[in-house]
Amino acid sequence: MTNKPDDSAPQGEAPAKPAASDSLHIGTDEWVAQHTDRQEARRGAVAMLAVVRNRLPAPVLWGVPLILLLLFPMMANGYLLRVGVNLGLFLMLSLGLNVVVGYAGLLDLGYVAFYGFGAYSYALLSSNQFGVHLPTWIAVPLVVIASAVLGLLVSLPSRRLLGDYLAIVTLFFGEVFLEFLSAGDTISVPWAKEPVNVTGGANGIVSVDGWSLFGFEFKTNTPYFYLLVVTCFALTFGLYRISRSRVGRAWRAVGDDALAAEAMAIPVKRLKLLAFVVGAVIAGLTGTIFAGVQLGVYPTSFDMPLLILLYAAVILGGSGSLAGAILGGAVMSLLPEVLRQPEIGEALFFVVLVIGVFKVMGAKRGAIMAAATFVVGLVINAILALSKVPHLATDDWAQSTVGHVIGPWLFVPADRMLWGNIGFVVLIVAIATINRIPRRVRALFIPLLLWLAIFVWMVRLSPEASLTRQMVIGGVLIVFMIARPQGIFGKQRVDIV
């Protein structure tokens, strides 16, 4: 715990200048708490990002991305456009979750249910399910209001609950909602003989009407993309203003320490409800757009994996930071998409490996390690080739450019699955035990480890791209949390006892 203020720290290039004098809370001395931030602020890639963010004049910071975004649909193919639309949806969701989790500190595990509620409500109001086809400008506000009411209904009884107890109740709510979606196609009602089909069960509701505003029909993904650009910017701007307002400050006070906030006469319960409802409204609105993009709604879209990714995005970016929610959202939305393609996955793997080695070991030792790894590969090649172990030629296994480049260097056994699995297990064990090896000798093992990592990736993980994708996301979450627990733009907290 660093509770000794570092007076000598010059404020020179520290970007946190305005924030420092912003407000002082009882309980957490922000200035002291920011000590590490100020130190961090002067180094590292993250700091460069922060400097860029703070140095650029606002019109450039907002204008350039906006222009790029407006031009994007003209340059992108259908896939990229859809990825862009997905990104927009995800960003809205992560911004909303950031209000609930980041600002008010409420662990809401039923958040995705509001997203689903928005999508399904919109689908019910504009599809053939009940033959209702409301115009978008009526349906969407209705759904948003309904989401707010639902948010209130869920949060009102839970206002007594704290921390993990709120988490579990909202989790139950999410599960109830999901189960209701898949069971809700046979609901017996007293006034009808046959059970009523409300949610369409596992088949969902298909042929939902797309959006249509002011006589303009949203027929392709392009208008949705523009719509999402507008909503994302509006949302970011709105949340920015809110976070600077009384409510925003009060939210953060509640999130930091509800008890202290209450002592400061902040209406804690009302603020919590408000945060919850704001989150629900944003999620509900996003749901209506999703239903329009997808032209159908299905229960599987609102399941746990999405919730996990959203939480990861908010925490990764830095809980309570707008820029963090956006950056984290972008990472968690695009990373799974990028990793779909094994070629990109391979390239990414090597980039990360090289940067990692050089970052950890420094330029000189890093270069030595790289060279040593190269030699290790050649030696292994020679040994195994001489001992006549059956292997595959490059053309038989290499799928990508990376594969062809390192093909002759990497020894690939005939039974890739078996050896890949063995390599995988050995690699995990090796990573787990490398710290036990004395420092001096460790350097000898690192090239072997690097070779093994490359071997496992190329032989086993890359061909199983879909599986590897999930594994890498899991790994990224662990490693990132350890490397930077407060998130990219998060502020480290130091409690003064």
């Binding site: 993990d164 109740v169 139950f172 069971a183 594994m471 899991g474 979450l477």
Partner: protein, 305 residues
């Protein structure tokens, strides 16, 4: 009457599984205030360890190994592998985060969960494995009263979770380790000053909790036959629910919560509507939480500031 009794037996069995997993959950939570979302996956790995031990011993057809020895070895393997895995997870994924905000370790736990699920899928393939319990414990053995049947494995499961609960309570209340656990749970900083080896206590907590999950994994295989790499997430979720509803941190609470969920599920499916069984179960649990916000057996903690 028979119908009700049989449904209660079903609920008791299912509840015992949740209780076994929830015990580990609540133990870890009690000591570290950590929501270990990877606990369900530790349970899954234990189940796989038990399965491959059985296959390695030549399966139930191998006359060289008596059935009870085999089952014992399966339990041993499941508990050892899961226990070891739990200790590893604690060391690499949670220990570096101990002083960080709690939500950070929650994300890390989710990462571990994703990683384990995919790693098992990678190593063992997508095929659903079957313990084939009925090959070595023939259908028809067990207790039959009227029309009610209790399979031997179900009896074993119920007995094991009852025994483990009692043992765990004794460990926590009577042993040196238990005292350490309580001390760390109460205030880990103060515990350090009092000479408690916090790292060791936490490591042992993870070992015990994960070994319990491993035992539960093998048990589930024996009672419900099929296992797959994704079985852990939902079971973990239900166990988490059980632990919280019972009063998180309370050992009898975890068992009570587990049994409650088990009974709710089977009675809702048996009497109300199988279609809405899960909806009913979760709705009932929400009601319980609203009436008793700290769980059934949870104490309301008063923190002086």
């Amino acid at each position: 009457m028979n119908y009700l009794t049989q449904q209660l037996v079903n609920g008791l069995t299912l509840g015992s599984v949740y209780a076994l997993i929830a015990l580990g959950y609540t133990l870890i939570y009690g000591v570290l205030q950590l929501l270990n979302f990877a606990h369900g996956d530790v349970y899954m790995v234990g189940s796989f360890a038990g399965y491959f031990t059985m296959i390695g011993l030549g399966g139930p057809q191998n006359p060289m190994v008596p059935i009870w020895v085999m089952i014992l070895l399966m339990f041993l393997a499941g508990m050892v592998v899961s226990g070891g895995l739990g200790v590893m997870i604690e060391k690499f994924a949670y220990r570096p985060l101990r002083s960080s905000p709690r939500i950070t370790s929650l994300i890390s736990a989710l990462g571990v969960s994703l990683f384990l699920e995919s790693a098992v899928l990678l190593l063992f393939g997508p095929k659903i494995r079957n313990y084939d319990t009925t090959d070595y414990i023939p259908i028809g053995t067990g207790i039959h009263i009227g029309g009610v049947t209790i399979e031997p494995m179900r009896i074993l499961l119920i007995v094991i979770s009852a025994v483990l609960m009692v043992v765990l309570i004794l460990v926590v209340n009577k042993t040196r380790l238990g005292r350490g656990m309580r001390a760390v749970a109460y205030d880990s900083d103060a515990a350090v000053m009092m000479g408690v080896d916090v790292n060791r206590v936490i490591m042992l907590t993870f070992l015990i909790a994960s070994a319990l999950a491993g035992a539960a994994g093998v048990m589930v295989g024996l009672v419900y036959f099929t296992i797959n790499n994704y079985m852990g997430f939902l079971a973990g979720l239900k166990a988490f629910a059980a632990a919280v509803v019972g009063g998180i941190g309370s050992i009898p609470g975890a068992v009570l919560g587990g049994l409650l969920i088990g009974f709710l599920e089977s009675l809702a499916a048996g009497y109300l509507s199988p279609n809405f069984a899960n909806v009913i179960t979760f709705a009932a649990l929400i009601a319980v939480m609203l009436v008793k916000p700290r769980g059934l057996l949870g104490r309301s903690a008063i923190v002086k500031v």
